[in-house]
């Protein structure tokens, strides 16, 4: 037990920089010395975990395809909502403009016909 050289000043294991999440997960999940903790947590193994993460990503896509896109119209989640409100306002203004132009044309026409008589 005392044959270890514990007195060393530095032990250079910086851990590889830029390691991938998969590399880290396959070490921190079920490796290391496993001892019984008080609080039992079910740590999925890496394969199940990647499948689950993939399903999570897939479910967002599926929801989008089904037209469930609340996160795109919720102003807290996306700038798309702001664009939508601008577009709505734009459309309303254009409609009013069209209506006004139609009205002026109408009055001009009636004026012309009355001039000729």
């Amino acid at each position: 037990m005392t044959d270890l050289d514990f007195g060393r000043e530095a032990y250079p294991i910086p851990g590889p920089p830029n390691s991938s999440l998969a590399d880290i997960l396959e070490r921190v999940l079920d490796k290391g010395i496993v001892i019984a903790g008080d609080i039992k947590i079910d740590l999925l193994d890496i394969e199940l975990l990647t499948i689950r993460l993939r399903l999570f990503v897939a479910s967002v896509d599926t929801a989008k395809k089904a037209g469930i896109d609340w996160w795109e119209t919720d102003p807290a989640l996306s700038s798309r909502a702001a664009q939508n409100s601008l577009r709505d306002e734009n459309r309303a203004l254009r409609e009013r403009l069209d209506a006004l132009e139609a009205k002026t044309e109408e009055t001009e026409e009636t004026k012309e016909t009355s001039d000729h008589t």
């Binding site: 037990m1 044959d3 270890l4 050289d5 514990f6 060393r8 530095a10 032990y11 250079p12 294991i13 910086p14 851990g15 590889p16 390691s19 999440l21 998969a22 590399d23 880290i24 997960l25 396959e26 070490r27 921190v28 999940l29 079920d30 490796k31 290391g32 010395i33 496993v34 001892i35 019984a36 903790g37 008080d38 609080i39 039992k40 947590i41 079910d42 740590l43 999925l44 193994d45 890496i46 394969e47 975990l49 990647t50 689950r52 993460l53 993939r54 999570f56 990503v57």
Partner: protein
């Protein structure tokens, strides 16, 4: 034996244990956030060893909280990296035995008792891994080339109501050829994997195979044929790079190495 029940947490806080070392320098992990905001990492002495611990909110570590975290890539990554950063920082100041992510105790007294009970295992692990680090080795087979002869052989012309004489035989031969090619490719990759494994075993103190990674959803077309990890003595670590290069040249396979890691895979019962 101490009571190590896994009853539901009722307390507000719990104690998260990252790693065990002989006498870590507290400055090694001074600036690190750990897994709980606003709580400093600290040392917990037990017998001749020291654990690196942090007080966490018990509510953040219920099974439900973890299941939610597991389904959120960003959160999971944050926790995994936070755990790994503390372990790596500790290992820079002294030989370290990492614990798996989320090893938790109700309070300090319970943690100290549980850790004391395991002292012999910690010391054995330290003896085994001092002056060593872990290196990951991944080998990928090349994807089947598009110019696969079994595939590009032209189909018999579809013109005419009757199949050309011998078309059935040609079809069978084509199928058989493709099958043989698949088998050959499979055998080749196994051979490469075994050659790489043998070469690294020769250099390492110990080695383990990890589970092969499935191809990424939108990632490379390369198929992983070996995912192994090795415990390598520090004085031999310099040989890893030239060995990897030589193996790449000899086999033509893609070989990735990662390291040095704190020896996560070699502190348990090997």
């Amino acid at each position: 034996m101490t009571d190590r029940g896994t009853e539901q947490v009722t307390a507000e806080s719990a104690l998260y244990v990252f790693a065990v070392c002989k006498l870590p320098d507290p400055s090694a992990f001074a600036g690190l956030p750990g897994v709980a905001a606003g709580e400093a990492l600290r040392r917990l002495r037990f017998g001749e060893l020291t654990a690196i611990v942090q007080t966490v909110r018990a509510a953040d570590f219920t099974d439900e909280a973890w299941q939610a975290r597991m389904a959120d890539r960003g959160e999971l990554e944050r926790y995994a990296r936070a755990h790994h950063d503390v372990v790596s920082a500790a290992a820079e100041s002294c030989p370290t035995v990492p614990l798996p992510m989320a090893t938790l105790y109700h309070d300090e007294e319970r943690a100290r008792q549980a850790l004391l009970d395991e002292t012999e295992r910690f010391l054995a692990a330290l003896r085994r891994t001092t002056d060593h680090s872990e290196w990951g080795v991944k080998v990928y087979a090349a994807a089947p080339a598009a110019s696969d002869p079994a595939r590009t052989r032209p189909e018999p012309s579809a013109g005419g109501s009757r199949p050309t004489p011998g078309a059935g035989l040609a079809y069978l031969e084509r199928k058989r050829g493709a099958q043989a090619q698949r088998e050959r490719r499979h055998e080749d990759s196994l051979r490469v994997a075994e050659a790489v494994e043998a070469a690294f075993q020769g250099l390492a103190t110990a080695g383990r195979r990890l589970r092969l990674h499935a191809p990424e959803p939108a990632g490379t077309s390369h198929v992983q044929v070996l995912n192994a990890t090795y415990l390598v003595a520090e004085h031999r670590a310099a040989e890893l790079e030239p060995l990897t290069r030589a193996l790449r040249d000899a086999t033509g396979a893609r070989i990735d190495i990662s390291g040095p890691w704190v020896p996560y895979s070699f502190v348990g019962e090997v």
